[in-house]
Amino acid sequence: MTNITVQLRCRNVGPSPTCDPDGLRSLVDLTVGETAVLAGVCGLAEPDSGRRLYDLGFAPGAPVSLVRTSPLGGPRVYRVADYEVALRASEARCLRLL
């Protein structure tokens, strides 16, 4: 494994330790067109998934907005880091907002 991968595996992409994660809203609470600032990832079963969301641009401090929903609980389209990406509710729930 490269040194880089080893370093990257140790990354912590959660909200700042001083804030209480359960008191924060998550991406699923956004309404269409609303923009909010990300606090970080918490509550995911797999830590890999959290780092992946970070690498996709869902970094602490990044502005996120909800572009589109789909009926019957399908994935939703979010705008982050100047591009659009669809996430399911299970992942969106773990992305906390400031």
């Binding site: 641009g57 970094a59 589109r68 994935p75 705008r79």
Partner: protein, 645 residues
């Protein structure tokens, strides 16, 4: 610098001193378009050792010399979450000896998403390999109101940055000139940070120094998505597109396939007339028939791959997957698997090849194992024949009973496919990590015609090369089993066969062939399903291709009653054993046969393609095995239930 390492079966100009470049970058960054522009038809495809990941390597001109370029799988990060991204890490790992290490890296980055891409740029720069950033979609950045100073970016990053635009030669040439001397490329004094708290400020400072202004949202894509992602209109457009596509498939591909069959039939007759006796029949039926049997798939593969390429290239594939994700998610798959499953309604082969669009290896395997259960076109002639034997030609209200039965078989295939996908997904998912679902929705872009053409060409070429040998060998073996041992005239006369009647001779030979011996010997296996050795021969023969069943049963029936084989089939009785004298095609037996054909994997071409896509024989064996088991069990159930009715 030539590292004599394994190339996974690809041998690309390994002279001493050949530079080796690896193309890295996130998906949708124009990486494959760049690869095609650099290597064109000189690219070869294979598999990375031990994984279900395709490998693309080619050669290109780099300032007067020839260089090797490897198109690594798209990766959002060097912190891998899938086998594809693990391959990227393995190739870039200096300590990994099983894969050839590159001398320098070409890192594609979409200028419109530069903020996000700087994350992976920072990671790749940390590898301390000579790296050149290749900036793509700069024209789109400007069009959407963004701005970027490329020279300032190069200064801020500390590595060379070359801007290229699709279809424009100047940028490509500048890149190729740079590729001549990777040793002279600037390297950053200090590698960029990887800790999340430091990366943010680093990205901000680089973007500020490069005068980056973010592009606005793409208004054209927004307006298109308002329709195409609308839950009602979007789904309607999607199904209309799929329907229109299948219409094209049947009006264009079907006649082409017919023409190919006719041509090979003519060629076969020609060789049968000009070559003596058995040799003539061998060449015409086994060899020419075998090659024709491979090429007849080409029109479907070309058309289906053209559709899939266009869907991917324009960006519409993510929209289709978005619409279908909820439904597919119920069965443990994701939205992108829908296109692969749908393609399998025509033929499982392009459907299986389409699983390349799925990022998760677990999803790829689950879809590949399930796709052959979708009711493909080859099953239809068999269903028609068997439905005629089982279902009366009556009407239920406005609906024809036989038509309803056919529709029911299609539904059964779909249910079997989705159920199987769910099971495999669970089995494969237990061992591997769950992949979080995310799907980039790129702006709608016009696909590069060259990339589309190369993608179709690669699919067709790969299919013909890898599958021909399997189909040819199995066709020959089957021909041998069905036609040998040969019967001399004296022997035929002693058996009471009219030697002038070719059909009678063929039937006698068939009934006493190696295949018939095998068919008789496996009778104990199939007896609970109600099959006798003649049906067994038909089933064995159709292992190569399902539609062969109809022809084989026809041959056998013609022996009994050359005037009306259809009636002979219906009236056929058991020749020996406990049921001697009883009718063979009882409703229970026909039901068992129908169900057997729903499940059994009777297509060597499909096995060949699964082998090609997974890089080994394990998964084709699993597919064949589990489908045979399901076919037997459900066939027996069908016979038991129908006989009791």
């Amino acid at each position: 610098m030539n590292h004599g390492h394994s190339h996974g079966g690809i041998n690309v100009a390994p002279e001493a001193g050949t530079l080796r470049f690896a193309l890295v970058g996130s998906p949708n960054s124009g990486k494959t378009t760049l690869f095609n522009a650099l290597t064109g038809l000189r690219a070869k495809t294979g598999n990375y050792p031990g994984v279900t990941v395709a490998r693309f390597e080619g050669t290109t001109a780099a300032g007067g010399r020839t260089a090797v370029v490897e198109d690594l799988p798209g990766a959002y990060s060097l912190d891998p979450i899938s086998p594809d991204e693990q391959v990227v890490c393995d190739v870039l790992d200096a300590e990994n000896d099983t894969l050839a290490a590159p001398d320098a890296l070409l890192l594609t980055a979409d200028a419109t998403t530069l903020r996000r891409n700087l994350n992976v740029i920072a990671q790749v720069m940390g590898l301390e390999l000579p790296t050149c950033v290749v900036l793509t979609f700069g024209d789109e950045l400007a069009r959407r109101g963004g701005a970027l100073d490329v020279v300032a970016l190069e200064r801020a990053l500390g590595v060379p940055v070359v801007a290229v635009a699709a279809g424009e030669q100047a940028g490509l040439q500048r890149l190729q000139e740079r590729m001549a001397e990777p040793g002279t490329w600037a390297r950053p004094v200090v590698p960029p940070p990887t800790d999340p708290r430091e990366v943010g400020p680093w990205v901000d400072s680089v973007l500020a120094a490069a005068g980056f202004r973010a592009p606005g949202a793409d208004s054209r894509s927004r307006r298109l998505d308002d329709v195409l992602l609308h839950p009602v209109w979007g789904t309607a457009v999607f199904f209309a597109l799929m329907f229109a596509f299948f219409q094209v498939l049947f009006t264009v591909a079907a006649p082409l396939q017919g023409a190919i069959e006719t041509f090979f039939g003519w060629l076969g007759d020609l060789s049968a007339t000009h070559l003596p006796g058995v040799l003539g029949r061998f060449v015409s039926e086994a060899l020419i028939g075998g090659v024709g049997g491979v090429l007849v798939f080409l029109p479907q593969i070309v058309l289906l791959f053209l559709m899939i390429s266009l869907l991917e290239g324009t960006g519409y594939m993510s929209r289709a997957a978005f619409l279908m994700d909820r439904v597919m998610g119920r069965f443990g798959l994701e939205g992108r698997a829908f296109v692969a499953m749908l393609s399998s309604l025509a033929c499982a082969i392009p459907g299986i090849m389409a699983t390349r669009t799925l990022p998760s290896a677990r999803d790829r395997i689950a879809t590949m194992m399930a796709a052959p259960l979708m009711t493909c076109a080859a099953r239809v002639p068999v269903y028609v024949m068997l439905i005629a034997l089982l279902v009366p030609d009556q009407y239920v209200g406005p609906f024809r009973l036989q038509g309803l039965a056919m529709f029911g078989l299609y539904v059964a295939g779909a249910i079997a496919a989705m159920g199987t996908a769910a099971v495999f997904s669970r089995i494969a998912g237990r061992r591997s990590r769950g992949l979080p679902f995310y799907m980039e929705m790129p702006p709608y872009r016009a696909p590069s015609p060259r990339s589309v053409a190369l993608s179709v060409w690669d699919a067709a070429k790969g299919f013909v090369k890898k599958v021909t040998s399997i189909i040819l060998i199995t066709t020959v073996l089957l021909w041998v089993a069905l036609s040998l041992p040969l019967r001399g005239e004296a022997e035929l006369e002693r058996a009471g066969v009219d030697t002038a009647d070719d059909a009678a001779v063929a039937a006698y030979t068939l009934e006493n062939s190696i295949a018939a011996t095998v068919g008789t010997s496996v009778e104990p296996v199939f007896e609970p399903l109600g099959f006798d050795w003649r049906i067994n021969v038909g089933v064995l023969a159709s292992l190569s291709a399902r539609e062969v069943f109809v022809a084989t049963m026809g041959q056998i029936a013609a022996a009994e009653d050359p005037e009306d084989p259809g009636a002979a089939l219906a009236e056929m009785t058991w020749a020996s054993g406990p049921n001697e004298g009883e009718k063979l095609f009882t409703p229970g037996t026909v039901a068992a046969l129908l169900v057997f054909f729903i499940f059994a994997l009777q297509c060597f071409a499909t096995l060949g393609v699964i082998r090609r896509e997974t890089g080994g024989w394990k998964w084709p064996a699993v597919a064949f095995g589990y489908m045979f088991a399901l076919a037997w069990v459900f066939g027996w159930l069908a016979r038991t239930i129908v006989s009791a009715l």
